[in-house]
């Protein structure tokens, strides 16, 4: 399989949408208008999109506290998400979830997660459903380098391997868990070195290279769909912002972020690659940029004026029936 022109445009649009969404949230948060804990995915776009371009709406993903990118890569509505971040009644979760709990089951997005390591066991479940019902679907858990040290994650790896589940464990190593460097906290340095402990194939890719991520994920997805069991993928990505919005980031070296933005921006790299290869033109990409910018602008404008949930919403949605 090759990526068509439409695929490339879609991939770019999704990455661009993530970037713009996050850059804008960064700005809005700084003005104090956005409540809560917000963790931005800027810089890591090629990972989510590279993986999810291989998935259908029936393939499930589980995300993390840094979930906006995974949602958007799975085509969750950006406007609904922005409204959710603003705690609005018409937000994608009715304003009840917020940044860390965005889910869109209709798109195969099982939820961001405020608990690090919460997703991998859940993804075993989605994969078990696929296997039991013979749907041919796959399930993907996104986890960070910090989350790679959480017991629930390790259990899920072994569980998926033993039961030969159609699951893929994508570890986005962005160098940090909050302030803690992954080269310190992951005893084996590279997370991919853990694949053997679970008897599963492992692959490490440069997460600034959309094409590298896409093809590694493609192989893993095909193996999973074909009954070949789970794969561990480590994707090395830069983190452009702080751990959360408001982080002073003094634990990072001076100039570290500037250099990452300059030399390791997956969007710039993508643009360079596709234009040099003559697959897309700069004009094509500029059009996408403009469309996405307008989309995000409109989303924020709507979010700011949209109604808040009211007292009648407080006690609904706890149970299906009680």
């Amino acid at each position: 399989m090759q990526l068509s022109r439409e695929d490339l445009l879609l991939a770019y649009r999704r990455m661009r949408r993530i970037r713009d969404f996050e850059d804008r949230v960064h700005v809005e948060f700084a003005t104090g208008e956005l409540p809560g804990f917000v963790h931005l995915y800027a810089g890591e776009e090629a990972s989510a999109v590279g993986v999810c371009m291989n998935l259908t709406d029936e393939d499930m993903i589980a995300s993390t506290h840094r979930g906006h990118g995974h949602c958007l890569a799975k085509d969750t509505d950006a406007t609904g998400m922005m409204l959710e971040l603003y705690g609005r009644k018409d937000g994608i979760c009715g304003g009840k979830g917020g940044s860390m709990h965005i889910a869109d089951l209709s798109k195969g997005m099982m939820g961001a997660n405020g608990i690090v390591g919460g997703g991998p066991p859940l993804i075993c479940g989605a994969a078990l459903t696929a296997k039991t019902l013979g749907t041919g679907n796959v399930a993907v858990a996104f986890t960070g380098d910090g989350g790679s040290n959480q017991g629930t994650t390790f259990e899920a790896l072994n569980f998926a391997a033993v039961l030969k589940l159609p699951a893929i464990f994508v570890f986005e190593n962005n160098g940090y868990a909050e302030t803690t460097a992954s080269q310190w906290s992951v005893a084996c340095k590279d997370i991919v070195n853990r694949a053997a402990a679970f008897g599963m194939p492992g692959v490490s890719v440069d997460g600034t290279d959309f094409f590298a991520v896409w093809s590694a994920a493609r192989e893993a997805v095909e193996r999973a769909r074909g009954g070949g069991g789970p794969t561990l993928m480590e994707v090395k990505v830069p983190r452009f912002y702080g751990h959360f919005e408001g982080d002073a980031e003094t634990y990072r070296a001076d100039g570290e972020v500037a250099a990452l933005k300059r030399d390791h921006d997956c969007l710039k790299i993508f643009r360079g690659r596709v234009t040099e290869a003559g697959l897309l033109s700069n004009a094509d990409l500029d059009t996408v940029d403009a469309e996405v910018a307008a989309e995000i602008e409109a989303a924020v404008a709507l979010a700011k004026v949209s109604p808040l949930p009211g007292p009648e919403d407080l006690v609904t949605d706890v149970y299906v029936r009680y």
Binding site: M60, A62, G91, I92, C93, G94, G95, K96, G97, H101, A103, D104, L105, M110, G111, N113, G114, I115, G118, P120, P121, L122, I123, C124, G125, A126, L128, T129, A130, K131, T132, L133, A139, G151, T152, E155, A156, N158, F159, V162, L163, T316, D317, V318, Y319, V320, R321, Y322
Partner: protein, 340 residues
Amino acid sequence: MPKKTFKQALNEAHFHEMRRDPRVIVMGEDISGGIGASGEMDAWGGSEGVTKGLYPEFGPSRVVDTPLSESAIIGAAVGAATTGLRPVADLMFADFLGVCFDQIFNQAAKFRYMFGGKAVTPVVIRGMIGAGFRTAAQHSQCLYPIFTHIPGLKVVIPSNPYDAKGLLIQAIRDDDPVIFLEHKLLYGVTGEVPDGAYTVPFGEAKVLREGGDVTIVALALMVQVALDAAELLSKRGIEATVIDPRTTSPLDLDTIVESVEETGHLVIVDESSPRCNIATDIAAQVADVAFHALKGPIKMVTPPHTPVPFSPSLEDLYLPSAERVAAAVEASLRTRKGAA
């Protein structure tokens, strides 16, 4: 009606529902037993044999033995539930919640609310509770107050074979996450159990005995203790109503309040540790909504605030006894309102 044990009743409930609905699966450590080994499969059928016989009929895709990894087991059950299956996961001893609690209380219990009503998580988590089995502090706890505390969970605690079967079938058909707790000392208890499938609704207490002097509320193993106490009291001229709530979340407070409005006295027998438990929960609710009806103090009969001891001599003292319940009733009746 045929007589069956509590364990058989639970076993039948599994068969009915697995035959009825292909989305129902069971999973857990040794849930069939013998996987990967060279002897028999279905060697155990769960640590107490509750799921015995399912494997031969439904095979490995619906009777899923797992590695020893409770977070993965419960998390997978929860994830499978949100994606179309109806898993019944066996936690074995409820005491093991400590290694998988996040998947229960932060994930399963909260999905529906956090996701604005869009998730449905029809998972049943079975666990054994209770003392008396000589299994000491880490295998004898009740822990249902912890589950009951968490919004989003339903908590079911049968006290007899009939209810066990009907409540488990209801739990499997229910669309919310259900914690289903089985007192180990009840597995061998027999009672009349229909052969067919039937449900016992959640949130409906059962009145096991009626008497006008005092209301005794009890769960699981303590129901029998309460009934024994009622017999003792009856000989002393005191007639008790005994109520088994059967589910603590939802809780049928109305039935309890109605009875207290007649009797004016309430005693709650709870095998769980005394602080923030079901006894305090019910007592407090009654002291609010039915305060006007109370003629004496609400008494709670519980174990002491200690871990469960191993030695049989201590464990027998640890558990509430009929004699202690009777004494509590008498104390409440003695200290009538205004008497102090």
